[in-house]
């Protein structure tokens, strides 16, 4: 049975009259990966700092693993955090760094040694554990930071921009580790990031913040649906076959075809009354089948409006649900 690990109710934080976050409410359960999204300055880092007791909320309350916000020491014992732009002591080795944090959680020297070796292996740094952190690449430092966040076997792990500044390979490595944390440890992972395709891939739930407020929260599908994005498709065919393609498409009732002078070979297709997502996809599949059956080579066919990035951009640009 999964239990609720995060419960935030109307969290508000004000600094010198400026509101950083306002009425932020959401919940998360064991084993879930929550994507905390929002443009720069939306309040993601402040929300994480509030939930990890680094900052005190001006209003509102929250609980982590059942502990109320007033039990900050208990909360810190059961959370792991990778802060945004976390610094590392350059002269220490990765193993020394982890051993120190393990001892802060009460482990003996020998337990700390064993755990640091185990975590270095888990994040793929077993060969570099005895090297100074100053020799680590950014990706290695981020993985070391994730290992540190796991040192107390946390119930909830907060990762603030863990993929920031990493190359695609580094991003993939970090995301794999995040998946592993949620799966093997059954921990809740709160992931603050700008990598929307990856969020779509790994997160079971999404919270979009804008100007310190929650715009929308729910599963990726629910968020996309809330955005009420006009669903369409882009069809690209050879220029000399565009007219033939238009004739084929004319046979579909309610299908609108748009064409621009700049890209005459590109047809933008929209269904007047698509109904559900699956109904829309079904119509588009039939369109694609008809075009190919007519012997028209399809150079590109892409469904628009079904991605989290579309929903995110639409919602954060208009700022309301």
């Amino acid at each position: 049975m999964t239990s609720t690990t995060i419960e935030a109710v109307r969290l508000t934080k004000q600094y010198d009259g400026r509101t950083a976050v306002e009425d932020v409410s959401f919940s998360a359960s064991q084993g879930e990966i929550i994507g905390l999204l929002g443009p720069n300055g939306a309040g993601k880092t402040t929300t994480i700092r509030l939930l990890t007791t680094v900052l005190q909320p001006t209003r509102g309350e929250f609980s982590i693993a059942g502990y109320p916000s007033t039990s900050s020491a208990e909360i810190r014992r059961c959370v792991g955090v990778l802060p945004e732009s976390s610094g590392y002591p350059a002269h220490q080795t990765g193993a020394e760094y982890l051993r120190f944090y393990a001892r802060l959680y009460g482990l003996s020297r020998s337990q700390a040694r064993g755990l640091s070796a185990e975590l270095l292996t888990a994040v793929g740094l077993e060969d570099r554990g005895q090297s100074r952190i100053s020799t680590y690449s950014r990706g290695m430092r981020q993985r070391l930071g994730i290992a540190r966040a796991m040192i107390n076997d946390p119930v909830v792990v907060f990762l603030d921009e863990p993929t920031l500044g990493l190359d695609p390979a580094g991003q993939a490595q970090v995301l794999n580790i995040i998946r592993g944390i949620a799966k093997a440890r059954d921990a809740t992972v709160v992931l603050s990031t700008h990598l929307l395709p990856e969020v779509e891939e790994v997160c079971s739930k999404v919270v979009i913040l804008h100007n310190g407020r929650v715009l929308v929260s729910g599963s990726v599908g629910e968020v996309i649906k809330t955005a009420l994005i006009e669903q369409s498709a882009q069809l690209r065919v050879p220029l000399d076959l565009v007219e033939r393609a238009r004739n084929v498409l004319a046979g579909f009732p309610g299908l609108t075809i748009k064409q621009t002078a700049e890209q005459p070979e590109l047809l933008v297709l929209a269904v007047d009354r698509p109904g559900t997502d699956s109904a829309h996809r079904e119509v588009m599949n039939e369109v694609l089948a008809a075009v190919t059956a007519a012997g028209i080579p399809v150079l590109r066919f892409e469904l628009e409006g079904a991605r989290l990035s579309d929903a995110f951009l639409k919602m954060t640009s208009r700022g309301v649900t």
């Binding site: 680094v54 810190r76 014992r77 959370v79 802060p83 002591p89 002269h91 009460g106 076997d153 944390i181």
Partner: protein, 280 residues
């Protein structure tokens, strides 16, 4: 490829909980801070500079003594006062880096999200800063020994230097940490601390031939560094007893108690991501 991050063994988890009750996190922080100070090279560089300066001062003092410009007791007093003053300066510089340095390097937040009480963080940093004072004192022992041979004041000089220096180092180390907590920038923190120390050292640099009225006396007694050094001088040079000028130690003692107390009481509100007690 999905990397499997397996949970630690049950025994380890139990060890975390049971061990958390037992271990003093203050000592863990202090140990790490000391390691950082000494293995990063910062402590060793300061110690090396201290020993170079002390060698120079000892050489000048011993030549003055050979030329009969200084008495042997005065030579010992001069070198000991220098050792205490510079040792305390080094302690202040290290403690001034304690909180603001961590903020600048981005390492404070990771400490703040651990269950370590903030008083333990600040206490560990003070212990590490004091380790530099103890190291400078150890380095100065052979110098004092060389100068104090034959007049029978070696033991008294070392005990005096250790007691007075430790008292002043605790006070100024605590002040350094308080300044560090109040500054967002490390440069500001260190500059403010050194400026404070220069003000405190100023009375000790006044020529001894100047008329010394009540104002000078107040200035001397209100200043923890100057009054501490004056106490050393009264015993080593003037041959006073340990209790005769004990009043000179009131200011160093009060500074240590007030600054240390402020650090302990206000510590949890001071160790924050940004400076100031109301910032969060």
């Amino acid at each position: 490829m999905t990397i499997q991050v397996a949970p630690p063994a049950v025994g380890t988890v139990q060890g975390v909980r049971a061990g958390a009750e037992r271990q003093s996190r203050l000592l863990v922080v202090a140990e790490q801070e000391c390691r950082d100070l000494w293995t990063s090279g910062r402590g060793l560089i300061l110690l090396f500079l201290f020993s170079v300066l002390l060698s120079g001062v000892t050489y000048l003092t011993s030549t003055n003594q050979a030329l009969n410009f200084l008495e042997q007791r005065e030579s010992v007093n001069l070198v000991l006062q220098f050792a205490v003053a510079v040792g305390v300066l080094a302690t202040l510089v290290v403690s001034a880096d304690g909180i603001s340095g961590e903020r600048e390097r981005g390492t404070l937040e990771t400490l703040l999200v651990t269950p370590v009480p903030r008083r333990s963080i600040i206490g560990g940093k003070l212990i590490a800063a004091l380790s530099l004072w103890f190291a400078t004192f150890l380095v100065s022992i052979p110098y004092v020994w060389v100068l104090a041979r034959g007049v029978g004041i070696l033991g008294r000089a070392l005990a005096l230097g250790f007691c007075v220096g430790t008292l002043v180092a605790i006070g100024l180390g605590s002040i350094g940490l308080l300044i560090s907590a109040a500054c967002n920038s490390n440069k500001t923190s260190i500059a403010a601390s050194i400026f404070l120390l220069l003000i405190l050292f100023a009375p000790t640099q006044l020529p001894s031939g100047l008329p010394q009225g009540w104002f000078f006396e107040v200035l001397l007694r209100a200043n923890p560094v100057a009054s501490g050094l004056a106490y050393i001088s009264s015993i080593l040079v003037e041959g006073h007893g340990w209790t005769q000028d004990l009043a000179l130690l009131i200011t160093p003692l009060l500074t240590a108690i007030i600054a240390g107390g402020a650090l302990i009481l206000a510590g949890p509100r001071l160790v924050r991501l940004t400076r100031g007690v109301n910032s969060e």
